[in-house]
Subunit: 356 residues, 2 copies
DNA sequence: CTGAAAGCGCTTACAG
DNA sequence: CTGAAAGCGCTTACAG
């Protein structure tokens, strides 16, 4: 008998949750379980966190009590006491973009397999919100942080550096990162598409995007394209920016608009496949020849790019792999191991198809 | 001077985080801030959580110290002490399905505006994982829980009922819910589409889905369709189930397959728009007349359904609204208010277009 | 293999 | 408006 209170029946009323002294409803705690199993609380803790350290007899008694009382450990108390959380914050600009969702899936699968949980935050392409999110999420004392992009407010960077936990910035690959980095060079991707379009003989090339301030990676693709065109000579570029989210409807309307206002444009590189597919569907409905009258290219390599007629030239990015690698790097550092590389360029593949 | 330690300079070494007695690295805590601002810890806590309760002089001194030390409050300690968390778990079957993402966005916007954060968990359509997730997430002592669907394992239901926090089950509308419910009747939606197809003269109607065990809402649409067809007489149905995720490629392949193996089928109701669009694109490429040779219908009312040629007949579900309403109901209960209704049927709209 | 003590960093009453 | 004491539910050393 470890408790002074006589314990007759593991389910006796005295072991049930009750009002605490401070007047709030208390759930079943470790102590209730300990009393029910007639062991000390530490033994219950061990039976749950390191079962092999407890004798089989006690372990069984404890598990039975856990079951009987419906005990759910309070993670907050555990995390506070041990200074360890198994929750990893993941910060992305948007969830409505399939691309981020696929990266997130890669992250989720990887960290979940290692026993971690994801705390997802979306910034809606707002760097102030990103800073606020980072601050709040760090308040949960996470073992590491995953965040999209390499551009942040100075205070975000400071916060993350001071937090003294591993950080992986994913999506684009670049020279300066807070800690670790996985992604691809969007400037190179833009240049690669420019090279492709020039090689196929297009000379007046438009780039179509939405909210290019926030989505600076699209801007980088445009910059890469523009620079390459300028370097090669003999061709020119135009930038088209439309309001709204980067959906198919924007591509649909953009095609009609551009053909009217800029009839000299002979090729369009869209900021993503969705818009590009929207443009292809519009061309189809209106009987506009693609690529005869105008060529269309996308970015991301979504499955649908291969299904439209004509099939869409695009650049495939290894999205899920980015998520997996980012998570793997983070986990290895959390475990105190040193990842083979601090920065990984996952690259991209240009898929020339019928639309160019 | 409230501390016995003489405090000369707010940034003096003695106020900096140091190794604690238990040997682990300690971050800046409330006590560091209190010492730096020369007030008691409770006052700091108040200045942060209820600024109006603290005099302006102290508030300014405290805020300066917070800034100078880069203090980030430990949410776990706060939550443990106050028995309140501002994190709400959201459990969904999948993130790769746009539909859930839109619901999640509605939830996120609503709860974030109220100062809560979302802890997202994905079950991958596995009820065992759902139970495990629910258990873990409840360990964070959340003020409420949002989860997709009305079908769960008995132990999940028990867990959530015992947790004694408000719960909203969203996506489908049904008679039995744990606590509150927002959604639409998928049986009715299936019946509505069947009625539409019968009215247009189709007599051999196929339903095309993937993983119909897990995605039981698709199954419910099929059941609704099947029942309605049976009731009306004069027509018949077939169920086609394909492996893999419910993407455009599945619709693309399904169309080719079904036309060969079941040439008598004259209309197809797909489990979602993505598959249906895949089928339309396939028909387009192969020159199959839609709806002449075969009619095609989808479900969800995604923007792209309006852009393909022929435009796709579909059923629009108010996805974002489901998220918003689910979150609003939960919040009102968290605040101790009683939501106007415990169950909300958000309904759906059948959009007859050219593909049928 | 098992336990008594102390503490994680905050907040809730209760005083003044 | 401000503070000293106690406690939230767990875990980490330290003993035996």
């Amino acid at each position: 008998m470890l408790e002074t209170t006589p314990v007759m029946d593991p389910m006796s009323a005295s072991l049930r949750p009750r009002e605490s002294r401070r007047g709030r409803r208390t759930a079943v705690t470790l102590n209730h379980v300990a009393a029910a199993a007639q062991v000390s609380p530490i033994t219950v803790s061990r039976a749950l966190n390191a079962p092999e350290a407890v004798s089989e007899t006690l372990r069984e008694r404890i598990n039975a009590a856990v079951e009987a009382l419906g005990y759910v450990p309070n993670r907050m108390a555990g995390a506070l006491a041990s200074a360890k959380t198994r929750v990893i914050p993941v910060i992305v600009p948007s969830l409505s973009n399939v691309v981020f969702v696929e990266v997130i899936e890669g992250i989720q699968e990887t960290i979940e397999a290692a026993g971690y949980q994801m705390l997802l935050g979306s910034t809606d392409y707002d760097l102030d919100r990103e800073a606020a999110l980072a601050s709040t999420l760090l308040g949960w004392a996470p073992p590491g942080v995953l965040l999209a992009g390499l551009r942040h407010l100075p205070r975000t960077t400071t916060l993350l550096k001071n937090a003294d936990v591993p950080v992986v910035e994913f999506m684009e690959y670049g020279a300066r990162c807070i800690d670790m980095n996985v992604g691809l060079s969007h400037v190179q991707a833009g240049a690669a598409m420019a090279a492709h379009l020039l090689a196929r003989g297009y000379r007046r090339i438009g780039f179509v995007g939405t909210r290019m301030c926030g989505d600076y990676r699209a801007r980088q693709r445009y910059d890469g394209m523009r620079r390459h065109i300028a370097e090669m000579g003999g061709a020119s570029d135009v930038l088209f920016e439309y309001p709204g989210g980067p959906g198919q409807d924007v591509g649909w309307h953009a095609l009609g608009d551009i053909l009217q206002t800029h009839p000299d444009v002979d090729a369009l590189f869209f900021a993503n496949d969705e818009m590009a597919v929207g443009a292809v569907l519009r061309a189809q409905r209106d009987g506009i020849a693609v690529p005869g009258r105008i060529a269309i290219a996308g970015f991301n390599g979504l499955p649908m790019s291969a299904l439209v007629t004509p099939s869409l030239t695009t650049i495939t990015s290894p999205r899920k792999q980015i998520g997996e690698q980012a998570a793997a790097m983070l986990l290895s550092r959390i475990d105190g191991r040193c990842p083979p590389q601090r920065r990984i360029d996952v690259g991209f593949v240009l898929q020339p198809r019928s639309s160019t």
